[in-house]
Amino acid sequence: MENIDWIISILQSTIRMSVPLILTALAGLFAERSGVVDIGLEGKLLAAAFAGASGAAVTGNATLGVVAAIVASLLFSGVHGYASISQRGNQIVSGTAINFIAAGATVIIGNAWFNMAGRTPSLPADAKLNPITLPFADALRDVPVIGQIYSQLLSGHFLLTYFAYAMIPISWWILYRTRFGLRLRAVGENPGAVDTAGISVVRMRYMAVLLGGVMAGLAGAFLSMAVSAGFTKGMSAGKGFIALAALVFANWRPKNILFTCLLFGLLDSLSIAMQGKTVPLVGSIPVQLWQALPYILTVVLLAGFIGKATPPRASGNPYVKER
């Protein structure tokens, strides 16, 4: 019985951990499918987390917090867009710059506003995002297995969690079933074709990058307003890069993103849950090895199963007509 709870808790944690990755990876998906590489995800995540927490703390209103998070992320997306689309600058340099600026600015502004040691005030329950229970969850709690799964695994997550998971099929639908998606994929493959078809390459790429900005904003809000109740400096802790890895790992396909992010989430929560456990035959294992587990397994999986990843052909290259 206790074991069941433990396993369920691992799965719950897997779901929680996967949400910011999914949203961030989707942010990257839209940008890169349109031909704009975005290693500034980490920075946007951080900025959004900060803006969300601050917004919510100041207004005492969770919704406004989320809006603030999105706005902040959009701001950085705008900069990235201007640099890499309008100015045809190097997209990786631009992304790096964004990571630097976000890392520093969040702390400075935080202290200027709250001077609470680089953190934002911890949010009261009604200013943060709270888990919701699905209908009948409590009723079914005691029904063995199905009941447990429903009430403990499926129910009791944040609205954003359900949204993130919903966004996967939605993103697929947008990419493959709408005009916007068709043009977005085209502009990431061959901007020339889009241009000659009478569509503005610049406009498409901006829209994609900004859409990505919204996603990253929500991911940030999830970090500082849902799974924690306030901002701590550098709290994104590399999730932006992991999400990037998940995106590449997923070969730039929405449905694969679901799996890769779940995988990262699972490995991560395993590395936590297993710490201190002794493994039969092997005996006790150094903490560092448990912590290395997710990365090792990822590499192994990559090498073992996933074939060549093929990025969108035009990704990384500014669209230049006249040399």
Binding site: R177, T178, R179, F180, L182, R183, R185, A186, E189, N190, G192, A193, V194, D195, T196, A197, G198, I199, S200, R313, K321, E322, R323
Partner: protein, 511 residues
């Protein structure tokens, strides 16, 4: 209503230092086919791209059907009934035909509806002009010929009244070309206006009503096709007299230099591209391989050159076996006297970002003459490049210039110079004059024949039947990966055309 579909007045365009179009005036009569010819880099594509709104002219104005229109982007052009088939196709390679045709004309936010109508429209157009394409095929898996149909369908689907084609036949077989021209005629009869850019004067004479000649960014002449002739056009184009058919003497075949037996090649997906092919090439002869693009010629060349592992069969080079199914590498084969002019100079034959001199040693960069131990001998390399530039009259004559900034004709000369000057015993050549102007063609053909007369064994693959017939001593026809017949070069074009189209070969059947 004006009698002119298009009027360009004082169009002027600079790309940085390059003055691509100089104050160009031209009038295109409605319901006619108007040809535009000119050397590589003369400014044809640029002019058309301006008309299509892809580039913006620095000066000048455009009148469509008598009305002055400010074409800011392709969308304006499309709206005013202009369609363009670009020289370098503007297709999304991993999209399906249907997706490509729809792109930019999807009707509604959500695709499904658009898909249905596009499918029907496509079907209609296909029947009307007998252009079969599978709407669900993925572009990169289609032969270039078909890809081009897609480009045309794209334009028609958008209801183009004026159709621009930039070097459309560069990638087509005579049969395909004739089919294209029939379609053009059909369109003309429907009152549509057509602008045709080509390097092939024969085509100009065959289909156009009027023809304009461009040189160095200017229109130097416009003629009524019926009142001019190939020689005059060629001369106008190049500014000097050119030989359209390079004379060639008797061939004196020596012993076998390259011998291919039962060669079979599969592509990445495991589809058989070359199917049990056998032939010999002797010293001092040119063996031409004719065939519709995409019938295995490319794979045949790559296999022989060691770029692609063969699935079966043997190849003998200068009497020594080549491990084509194993670890034959282009590097090794070069050392053994095999030179290769690849079909695609942009992606295979050259590194466009390199200096000319760097491309002049591609593949030979480990030869002692260009190296000092681990190092490259830069001075030797540049001196050698300079020499070749002079021999082959490559312009501009600057070995340090980025290769991308040479015109295709000159880019092609860079490749030829590199491969021919290595004094190989066997030379295999793919599409030696694709996208190259008559001036350059004349030169290239001369060099190929010289090589033959120096006793080289030459295997020539080209989709230009003219080229095959005027250069080859023997012609092999390839279809669906097999060699379906051997003919002498003076076999009537029609017969070869049939073979290329896969129509059974009576003679072989009889035997």
């Amino acid at each position: 209503m004006s009698e002119f579909a298009i009027e360009l007045k004082g169009i002027d365009k600079k790309f940085g230092p390059v003055h691509a179009n100089k104050n160009i005036d031209i009038k295109i009569r409605k319901g006619t086919i108007h040809g535009i010819i000119g050397e590589n880099g003369a400014g044809k594509s640029t002019l058309m791209s301006i008309l299509y709104g892809f580039y913006q002219a620095d000066k000048g104005e455009i009148l469509i059907d008598g009305k002055k229109i400010d074409i800011k982007s392709p969308s304006t052009a499309i709206a005013s009934g202009i369609g363009m088939v670009h020289q370098h196709f503007m297709l999304v390679e991993n999209f399906t035909v249907l997706e490509n045709v729809m792109l930019g004309a999807e009707e509604s936010e959500i695709l499904n509806k658009g898909i249905v109508t596009a499918r029907q429209a496509l079907k209609r157009l296909e029947d009307e002009y007998e252009m079969e394409v599978d709407p669900d095929a993925v572009i990169e898996e289609l032969p270039v010929g078909i890809q081009q149909r897609v480009e045309i369908l794209k334009a028609l689907y958008r209801g183009a009244e004026i159709l621009i084609l930039d070097e459309p036949t560069g990638v087509l077989t005579p049969a395909e070309a004739d089919h294209l021209f029939r379609i053009l005629g059909q369109l003309k009869n429907q009152g549509k206006t057509i602008l045709l850019i080509t390097h092939k004067l024969r085509e100009i004479m065959a289909v156009t009503d009027e023809v304009s000649v461009m040189r160095r960014g200017e229109i130097v002449a416009t003629r009524t096709t019926s009142k001019t002739n190939v020689e005059e056009l060629a001369e106008l184009m190049v500014g000097r007299h050119v030989l359209l058919h390079v004379p060639k003497g008797e061939s004196h075949p020596g012993d076998v230099k390259l011998s291919v037996r039962n060669l079979t090649v599969k592509d990445g997906r495991g589809v058989t591209m070359v199917d049990n092919v056998s032939f010999d090439v002797r010293a001092g002869e040119i063996v031409g391989v004719a065939g519709v693009a995409g019938n295995g010629q490319s794979e045949l060349l790559e296999a022989i050159a060691g770029m692609r592992r063969a699935a079966g069969g043997t190849v003998t080079l200068n009497g020594e076996p080549v491990d084509v199914t194993g670890k034959a590498s282009p590097a090794k084969l070069r050392k053994r006297g095999l030179a290769h002019v690849p079909e695609d100079r942009h992606h295979t034959g050259l590194v466009l970002k390199f200096e000319e001199s760097e491309n002049a040693i591609l593949g030979y960069h480990n030869d002692p003459e260009y190296t000092k131990g681990w190092l490259l001998d830069i001075n030797a390399i540049r001196a050698d490049a300079q020499k070749k530039i002079e021999q082959y009259d490559i312009r501009p004559p600057n070995p340090r210039l980025k290769t991308a900034n040479f015109s295709g004709g000159n880019q092609q000369k860079i490749v030829l110079a590199r491969e021919m000057e290595q004094d190989p015993s066997v030379l295999i050549i793919g599409q030696p004059t694709r996208g190259v102007d008559v001036g350059a063609i004349e030169f290239i053909h001369k060099r190929i024949i010289q090589m033959r007369d120096q006793g080289k064994a030459i295997l020539l693959v080209s989709v230009e039947l003219d080229e095959i017939r005027s250069l080859s001593d023997r012609v092999l026809v390839m279809f669906a990966g097999r060699i379906v017949g051997e003919r002498s070069p003076d076999t009537p074009e029609g017969e070869l055309g049939l073979l290329m189209a896969g129509v059974e070969d009576k003679k072989e059947a009889a035997e």
